[in-house]
Subunit: 493 residues, 2 copies
């Protein structure tokens, strides 16, 4: 057996245990009674230890070295590249740093759940200082190993191939036009009236409606499920994708768009190349590309007026509200494209969302590169919120720098993925339009040409190509934020 | 760290992976879409390989040897005994025999699903011959290692401490009175009339009713769930017990009693001693004792007239049938204690069930001990069915010796547990009555004294004592089938 083949077998073993981790994690979030949590956490921690051992087995170094001398096809080379990247990322950190960060992160996150409610920056920052410091050490070690800047090394955990210098260019461009665009759109929308549908909207009907939309979006129910959880997510494995949503009886909008979003993630997973199942090269390309698919579904498709026509029809039928003007297509469109400046990222609309992300990107970049201190964060947050959205968060930590879970356990480098996803989605749509009459397809209710494009250009590619190559093959160019700008102007002005 | 402590740590590691196996298994049976099965089966097979490695690690031999010299408390000695027993049972077989049996069993079971429908004994026996032969080899090796007969060695996998000679005595006694008792009861019931409730009974109402009964039986929903599956079972882990049932819209009886049965299994699991969680000594004693708890719930409690009063009231309320005589307590009692001779074990009532088990016991005992051949089974089956239940299965393999899944993959030694459970349940009830006014407790709707007795005498003991000691401490004597006989005569004559 070649060393490449040995690595493949080892990767499939890891995939088998990752499968069990994914299903246990879904179970914990979606169906487990709370009394089961202690034993479950122990069992999952045991599995993490095993996975770490498998990812760092000492013989792997030799195998990679040998495999690189072997004669491999292009796809095998890509497969080797992806296996090696995961192996390096798992191996580069000393075990005591991994443990220290995990402990500090758990402690900080746990206390944060209370501290955020109490707006307790002082208490939070005492724990967080340690998380930041350990993350800086991590970034430093990763940077030395990969010969990049510390923040680039963290970014590579989520967006391999994307660099600070490319992000700076793109985000600085966005900053030149976004605040002004937001103001213009809000001015315009202030002239318009809309009707808030009046609930309660019972959960069973919301669920039935969600399932109809998933069917419309060709979610494969033979390879996946819809369930409920406090924090919606897309989990499971490609052959059995578990998406969740949450229902608010007073709000029809949230769960529906949440379901569409997760269905986008799910169809990417369900559409990954089956011939590379269990191998890193068969996995999703990056967090940003993953988010491009959920946002393609939620924003590009889901908020198009053609799609909202379907939504309005299906929702008004499900809730016996066909004569209720609040359920009319035009009103639905207004509801689903409403723009508002707010403090909270997860509640933000399509237009203001990038401002929240750029702000976080700039702060975490400078934190990891060591040019600012954790103590500077509240003031920087306030300044940037003023600049980008005209809102002050002075003294308002809970709705400012303490609002997100990501930083509490040191997931620095993740935030850019959200807006990268939105930009890739707009770029994919612009390219798709050159081959597919997207409006007509949505209007007809048969979206198969749209999905065929995504499958051929994105889903079926897995991680065969680096992000820039993938995007270039699909659209003829690498990331170009102009498509996103055009999309926003077309939709909102 | 003492060697005993090392063994404890190792056992807890195994328990953590068993936890993941239990949850993945539940998921596969209860919620997984069928398209997920291939990848899931691979992942679970990978976990089985790991568990086998952990159970047979070479250093364990030394650790057991050393631990036996260490100064241990009585409970630690019991804990060591249970760990060692599992280790020995896992180690005694050569790996190639384990694999050969697993393969032959899978093949035979898979083909059986079609062959049974087609009454194809010839096709089945071609596969089954191999399963029997490999099981005989297994029994032989286990017998040599434990210095018993082959069948006793198989029995020990499910009922450690129970032997053929004790079973022969008990079952031969049952055979002297059971066939006659069955005839007398059927004659008596032939004089009585009853009303079959007319469905459909919709699933949502059946489920709501099942949940009410589980609440009545103090199932702990903070540490467990009720779901649906084709074959009802009790799975999960003690802190998170997953029971399932199946609903038939034309049959109210089946799902309800099934739920009560599984609730009995579940409360045993939920009541296991928390201080020994993750250790074999903290697990359920045996399959027979497990079944004694489910049958205590289903037969001793669930079919008592006091309990059926509650059942009739709750069911008639749930189905808006308070004035329907079919839902009356007296009619319910008749429905739930109806006796009929039939071919199929899983459909059998409380009275005829032991005949099905004794028949299987006698055949599998002689098969494992090599005194009969697999080819003799259909004829023996027919003879015994004639003798015990007056039914012929000549040429009727699908409702004869091909009806159960157990033998298809070589689970010889399991069947006696069902009737042992029924007997232990009757014996526990007889003892309990000396301390608790059981009828009054059920009538009042507060069953806590009943559960306290079970908890103190059975649940909370885990595997601290061997079955005979456990039963003797709880009831003053070892297994005595007279209690079962008295129970049946009292209920049915
Ligand atoms: Zn997403
Ligand atoms: Zn049972």
């Amino acid at each position: 057996m070649s060393h490449y083949q040995k690595l493949v077998q080892h990767a499939q073993k890891i995939a088998n245990f990752n499968h069990l981790a994914a299903i246990s994690g879904w179970d914990q979030a979606a169906v487990m009674p709370s009394g089961g949590n202690d034993a479950r956490s122990k069992a999952m921690a045991e599995l993490s230890v095993l996975l770490h051992q498998l990812n760092t087995e000492s013989q792997l170094a030799d195998w990679f070295h040998e495999a690189e001398q072997e004669h491999l096809s292009p796809i095998e080379k890509a497969s080797l590249r992806e296996m090696k990247q995961r192996w390096q990322q798992a191996n580069v950190l000393p075990q005591d740093l991994v443990q220290a960060k995990s402990l500090a992160g758990s402690k900080c996150e746990h206390a944060w759940r209370t501290q955020r409610k109490e707006n307790d920056w002082k208490g939070f920052s005492q724990n967080w200082q340690e998380v930041v410091s350990l993350s800086q050490q991590e970034a430093q070690i990763r940077a030395e190993a990969s010969n990049t800047t510390p923040y680039d090394a963290m970014l590579a955990l989520y967006e391999p191939g994307t660099t600070t210098s490319s992000l700076d260019v793109v985000f600085n461009d966005v900053k030149t036009w976004l605040p002004n665009l937001i103001d213009r759109v809000i001015d315009k929308q202030d002239q318009e009236s809309f009707i808030q549908p009046v609930g309660p909207f019972d959960t069973a009907n919301q669920k039935a409606l969600g399932l109809q939309i998933m069917q419309f979006l060709k979610f494969d129910f033979n390879h996946g499920r819809l369930d409920e959880s406090v924090h919606p997510f897309c989990g499971g494995v490609p052959t059995d994708v578990r998406i969740t949503t949450r229902y608010d009886e007073n709000d029809l909008v949230q769960s529906l768009m949440g379901t569409i979003h997760e269905t986008g993630h799910a169809r990417y997973e369900q559409g990954l190349p089956k011939e590379y199942a269990g191998l890193p090269v068969g996995e999703a390309r990056s967090m940003g590309i993953h988010e491009s698919q959920s946002l393609f579904f939620e924003m590009q498709l889901g908020r198009s007026s053609e799609f909202i026509n379907h939504l309005s029809r299906l929702a008004s039928q499900q809730f016996n509200a066909t004569s209720d003007p609040a359920f009319g297509a035009e009103n639905f469109h207004k509801l689903y494209t409403r723009v508002e400046k707010g403090f909270i990222r997860v509640d933000a609309d399509e237009l203001t969302y990038p401002a929240h992300v750029i702000l976080r990107y700039e702060i975490e970049r400078d934190l990891m590169n060591g040019t600012i201190s954790f103590q500077d964060v509240p003031e920087l947050w306030d300044q940037k919120m003023q600049n980008y959205l005209g809102l002050s968060t002075k003294g308002n930590y809970q709705n400012g720098c303490m609002q997100d879970i990501h930083w509490t356990d040191g997931a620095f480098g993740y935030f850019p993925s959200y807006t990268l996803g939105a930009m890739y989605a707009a770029q994919f749509m612009a390219s798709m339009r050159q081959q597919v009459d997207v409006q007509a397809a949505i209007q007809s209710g048969d979206l198969s040409l749209i999905f065929a494009w995504l499958s051929e250009n994105i889903w079926n590619k897995g991680s065969q190509f680096m992000t820039d190559d993938l995007v270039k093959q699909a659209t003829g160019e690498t990331l170009n934020a102009q498509h996103f700008k055009t999309h926003l102007e077309t939709r909102y002005l």
